[in-house]
């Protein structure tokens, strides 16, 4: 029997997630001697718990885990610990991370991403010489309660304080979907007199909003600055077409990291427990905006290398 790697994935709710799944699947299935047991929980916590329990029954060798919510994993993860199965936490990390044993944790920094979104807009305005102009910002949130929404909102709001010229005039949920992003933007354009910046907590909502902005007779990317998140291919296209301004990367390509970690694990190395954040970029129309932790890259330059 091969080395059994079990992966409990949240679901297939977006392009990002699909890319994430594909990356990990490809990496593990491509590795000689490894067998992947994959479970997709369809965005349901209970399904994930069931899957984890099932993995234990099957006696897998290592479990990759990302939780649909941040809470409520203690019990089942302890069970995993009890059975001495190494646990690899990826992407969305559980709140109980301090109380359980894991071999490594790897995931995006949602708060930082949220901060970057606002910071990009702020710096961009400064670069345009509009640094002192009063601008109205709307924040289009993701599905309420999802850890990405919680983290990014925290980052968004914290960063807004750094830019006194920005005022939040709207903050509602577009549920991470294009359709709702579109409908929400449509309404905002009517209820709010002036919108200068749209911070959309994922690219899908931003892409939806672009259509609504066009329908309102405004020019997306010019009249309204649009900052998305995730950096999916469609967002790159929109940026290159000049309809969107920037997207903050949140990479789904965990495959290489996962393989490396598991190999180390098999080799018997001890791993550090500090949470590792992947290197992520910021992509925009022209590049060169300095956000402190990262400098933005021109989207058109890298669009051909994008995998998802």
């Amino acid at each position: 029997d091969g080395y059994k790697v079990a992966f409990s994935q949240i679901g297939q709710e977006s392009d990002w997630r699909t890319a994430n799944t594909d990356s990990i699947k490809a990496a593990i299935e491509g590795h000689e001697g490894w067998e992947l047991i994959y479970d997709d929980a369809q965005q349901k916590q209970e399904n994930q718990i069931k899957a984890l329990r099932n993995f234990i029954t099957q006696g897998v060798d290592v479990i990759l885990f990302t939780g649909v919510v941040s809470t409520g994993w203690e019990e089942v993860l302890k069970e995993v610990n009890d059975e001495d199965i190494p646990l690899l936490l990826i992407d969305r990390l559980p709140d109980c991370i301090d109380q359980i044993d894991y071999v490594a944790a790897f995931g995006g920094d949602f708060v930082e991403e949220g901060r970057r979104q606002v910071a990009w807009a702020g710096e961009y305005l400064k670069a345009q010489g509009r640094g002192d102009e009063k601008v109205n910002v709307v924040i289009m949130e993701g599905t309420t309660g999802a850890s990405a929404q919680v983290g990014r909102t925290e980052g968004n709001l914290a960063a807004i304080k750094e830019y006194p010229n920005m005022t939040v005039v709207g903050q509602q949920s577009g549920n991470f979907t294009r359709a709702e992003g579109q409908a929400l933007m449509e309404s905002w354009l009517k209820s709010i007199d002036k919108i200068d910046v749209l911070i959309a907590q994922n690219d899908d909502m931003a892409l939806g909003a672009i259509d609504a902005i066009k329908a309102a007779g405004k020019v997306p990317g010019k009249d309204i600055i649009i900052v998305g998140c995730d950096s999916v291919k469609a967002a790159f296209d929109a940026i290159v077409a000049g309809e969107m301004n920037a997207t903050i990367e949140c990479t789904p390509l965990y495959g290489p990291f996962v393989v490396e970690t598991i190999e180390k694990l098999i080799a018997g190395e001890t791993l550090s427990k500090t949470v590792i954040h992947p290197e992520e970029g910021v992509y925009d129309m022209d590049g060169g905006i300095d956000l402190g932790t990262v400098v933005s890259v021109k989207a058109a330059d890298v669009i051909d290398q994008r995998q998802y």
Binding site: Y38, E46, N54, T57, Q58, T71, E83
Partner: protein, 360 residues
């Protein structure tokens, strides 16, 4: 276990075991066994045959089961309740918010949830019966309301950190065996927890209520023909209101079980659970037209429905959506069986009508 097999003579015992009204239950059990056997053959080597797989069916689905008990009653009256998932979710939220944010005693939260859940159930029952609003619409509104309140309380998932809850959640009864004079857990460990016990208790209460009390028989009568039940002098209004109240209670208990299961409250948890619960009951042989259904059937319905995702996970390579498709097919299969059984008993009925008539 069932109602009528307490007949005095042996002849009637056999005849009541063979009573066509139990056929659907047998069908459920039969399909369960077939699929279980399939699992054994296909994934036996992966650990499907372990006791753990079986106990996990209970441990992982106790909250569905608890809710399905109440739902079965509602369905037998000929009604439907779409609010169960939302009420359960709301219960989790009350417990999480109450203990984590307000620092209340969990029992206070549970008591409060019971008042709200049962109250909402009773209210919906009242609206359904006395205002004559269809159950589908009434309970859909109830679902919106419960979800809405849930989201108003908190939109983030709240972790439950409380000693009492922790103790309840982590209490487990392991299956042991004697090895070298010492009790050892079987491997992979199999256990039952508080939720399973709660489920079995609720199930027992459900059986008792349905088969051994006037209240339960009134439920069947209402499902058989509400107008007749009324003319027979049965307390139709009261019974219906109480049934929705009881279902509210079950939803709250399911919510508690779910909260113990995930130890958190989240406003989006258990979305779509109502249809899963209804599916369990239907697979268990309960008719949505009312008047037919047994708790035992529902139990097997729950086990059957939860075995499908388990099999998909054992396979480990299928898109989980195949699970959905398999559930749909199972439903189809089941209804076909139901159809065949019903039409064959009807045929038998018409023959026996002839016989009875001749005798008379």
């Amino acid at each position: 276990m069932m109602s009528d097999n307490r007949n005095s003579s042996g002849r009637s015992l056999i005849s009541s075991i063979l009573n066509p009204k139990f056929i659907m239950v047998y069908a459920t059990v039969g399909i369960f066994l077939v699929i279980y056997l399939f699992g054994v053959v296909a994934y036996g080597s992966k650990g499907f045959t372990t006791l753990r797989t079986f106990t996990n069916l209970f441990v992982d689905n106790a909250y569905y089961g608890i809710s399905a008990v109440g739902m079965t009653m509602v369905l037998i009256t000929g009604g439907i309740d779409l609010s169960v998932g939302a009420v359960a979710s709301l219960t989790g939220m009350f417990i999480a918010y109450g203990t984590a944010v307000l620092g209340l005693n969990p029992w206070v939260c549970i008591a409060f949830s019971l008042v709200v859940g049962v109250g909402l159930g009773l209210l919906m029952g009242w609206v359904i019966h006395y205002l004559n609003v269809p159950p589908f619409i009434t309970t859909l509104t109830g679902m919106f309301l419960a979800r809405g309140v849930c989201a108003l309380i908190s939109r983030e998932s709240i972790e439950i950190k409380n000693e009492t809850i922790d103790a309840l959640a982590s209490w487990k009864l392991y299956f042991m065996y004697l090895k070298d004079g010492e009790w050892t857990r079987i491997r992979p460990s199999a256990f039952v927890n508080f939720n399973v016990i709660l489920f079995l208790v609720v199930l027992a209460v459900g059986i008792y209520l349905l088969q051994r009390t006037r209240f339960g028989r009134n439920i069947y009568a209402i499902g058989g023909n509400e107008q007749s039940a009324k003319l027979m002098g049965l307390p139709v209004g009261r019974t219906k209101v109480l049934v929705y109240g009881f279902n509210g209670l079950c939803s709250v208990l399911a919510g508690i079980a779910y909260a113990l299961y995930v130890k958190s409250g989240w406003n989006l948890s258990l979305q779509g659970a109502e249809l899963d619960v209804i599916t369990c009951a239907v697979i268990g042989g309960t008719l949505l037209t009312g008047g037919e259904g047994y708790m035992i059937g529902t139990l097997f319905g729950v086990l059957l429905k939860s075995m499908i995702p388990a099999l998909i996970t054992f396979n480990g390579n299928l898109l989980s959506w195949w699970g959905k498709i398999a559930t749909g097919l199972l439903l189809l299969l089941f209804i076909c069986i139901q159809k065949i059984v019903v039409s064959s008993t009807e045929r038998r009925n018409s023959k026996s009508k002839k016989a009875a008539k001749n005798k008379a």
